[in-house]
Amino acid sequence: MCIKDSDHIPLLKVKSISRYYGRRIGCRGIEFELWPGEVLGIVGESGSGKTTLLNCISGQLEPSEGAVWYASNGGVIDMCVAPEPQKRLVMRTEMGTVYQNPRDGLRMHVSAGGNIGERLMANGLRHYGQVRRKALNWLEKVEIDSERIDDTPTTFSGGMQQRLQIARNLVTGPRLIFMDEPTSGLDVSVQARLLDLLKSLVTELDLSMVMVTHDLAVTRLLAHRLIVMKGGKAVESGLTDQVLDDPQHPYTQLLVSSILQP
């Protein structure tokens, strides 16, 4: 991560976000800032509100309270009250979301090339040759054989589907990526390759990332900072190494101690 002169305002500023499902709490009073080039990990047990928080800040779910300020190329906008066209434009040009289940993020009956090209064409590219070239280029970057460009994701392995999802999101050169448990459901060796790929892409493209996971090893490898959630609240936050090596909150201590030691 390098700090530039232009980086004097945070890319994303989350002001006490809450989301209620009726009387049940999704997440409550979450606050953080994300700076350009930073990777933020959100960890917690299942049902702790991680995905709810991610959906709220990525514009897919309307929070019940709070505000999300995003410093887009065209100025700072509040994602919660921004007009729909502006919000969707920002979401498909400057942001990307990688889902836990590739079926949510990919069009399964559309070829790999079509999946990668969708965002380009949505942003106005009307030249087949150029779409094709960029698709091939990105397939190479995410280490998928270029011969598979006309195959549908249904014929891909889980790891390939996940890498295709990443390519599909990164093709328009976004600044901010949201990831919802990108590695769960993959076996350990595939996980390692995917993490390796993510790490190199993040540094190469100077991406900022918010990553939800329950896998502490993943956060240790990728995240600069960490938020630990429990029962919809942030119980602890700080630098990744600091939180993992010296956990203060009882829940975090439990979480860290539950990692299997080889």
Binding site: R88, R107, G114, E118, M121, R126, Y128, V131
Partner: protein, 318 residues
């Protein structure tokens, strides 16, 4: 109720007497008013699908329930109606709908494109250029062009509202990557007035250029899907394409075997069990008029191995 079967000649037929017990043109006045209001809204927003309270009509869905409701709400005692199905005036669907309006509205019917004031059509636009005094009514099975690529109706509405049509190009991209060209041959999506992507009903893409800046009012009715949309006269209608794969219509190496026409849409007719075939105009009125003017095709020699080529293909015709 008196049964009346006044046979009328199909070209420039006489006025038959109207069936008793039915309102003029079958639908009640309130319904017709509702449909006319819908049409006005559709004309005001070219290409936008306006919902309407579609009624049960005495014909099955898929036979033109949408088109027939539009025609019923527009037709007046002075109108002359032409109905075509796949370009032909003499198919069951066309004959039945013509008879329906001659019996319920006492409407004059015709097969001559030039004479008609309202033309209800399924799957074709007549070869004869339409004028500003005419209305063409399309029968539409599925009005939503984005349906097959994005099944969520709510999401599709949002895409229309925000003019997000990238997904339509994904469909075209898939065609090119699979077939080497845009293989969609009918119901080819168009952009109306630089705003809404619209399904032109299942007309062959051969007819798409005719929609662009057409002097006649174009109305589209989908009865089962309860939608009406419109293209007002002289409105820009652009078929979607890529810069390096431009839109093009199909061409045949043959001419019509009956009238020798070299620039009309041809149907392939199987002649016998040995597989010999003949290519004739799909627009029967266009073909008949040319024959009446003395044009001739080489009817005697059925084409043995026919191939439809795209784009190029010069025809030497009579």
């Amino acid at each position: 109720m008196k049964k009346q079967f006044n046979r009328q000649s199909e070209t420039g037929g006489g006025r038959s007497s109207v069936m008793e017990g039915y309102n003029f043109a079958y639908l009640d006045e309130q319904t017709k008013r509702m449909i006319r209001r819908t049409i006005l809204k559709a004309v005001a927003i070219p290409g936008y699908q306006v919902p309407f309270g579609s009624r049960e009509m005495p014909l099955p869905y898929g036979w033109g329930t949408g088109g027939i409701q539009i025609t019923a709400s527009l037709i007046g005692s002075e109108d002359i109606l032409k109905v075509i199905d796949q370009g032909a005036d003499d198919t069951t669907n066309a004959v039945s709908i013509r008879r329906f309006f001659s019996r319920t509205a006492g409407a004059l019917t015709t097969t001559r494109t030039r004479e008609a004031t309202i033309i209800q059509t399924r799957h074709r636009i007549p070869e004869t250029h339409l004028t500003k005094d005419q209305i063409i009514v399309y029968q539409v099975p599925i009005p939503e062009p984005l349906r097959f690529i994005e099944p969520r109706a709510k999401e599709v509405c949002r895409m229309h509202a925000l003019k997000e049509y990238g997904i339509m190009f994904v469909k075209l991209y898939e065609d090119i990557s699979r077939h080497g060209r845009i293989a969609k041959a009918f119901d080819y999506p168009v952009l109306v007035n630089d705003r809404y992507v619209m399904s032109p009903s299942p007309i062959p893409k051969f007819d798409n250029p005719k929609m662009d800046r057409m002097p006649a009012l174009q109305l589209f009715g989908a009865g089962r899907e309860k939608r009406i949309y419109a293209v007002p006269p002289y409105t820009k209608v652009k078929s979607l394409d890529f810069e390096d794969y431009p839109f093009e219509v199909e061409r045949w190496p043959h001419c019509c075997a009956l009238c020798g026409s070299g620039n009309s849409y041809l149907d392939e007719i199987i002649m016998d069990d040995r597989g010999s075939k003949m290519f004739i105009c799909s627009d029967t009125n266009h073909c008949n008029e040319r024959v009446a003017r003395g044009h001739k095709g080489n009817q005697e020699e059925p084409v043995e191995k026919a191939q439809i080529s795209i784009g190029t293909g010069a025809r030497k015709c009579a």
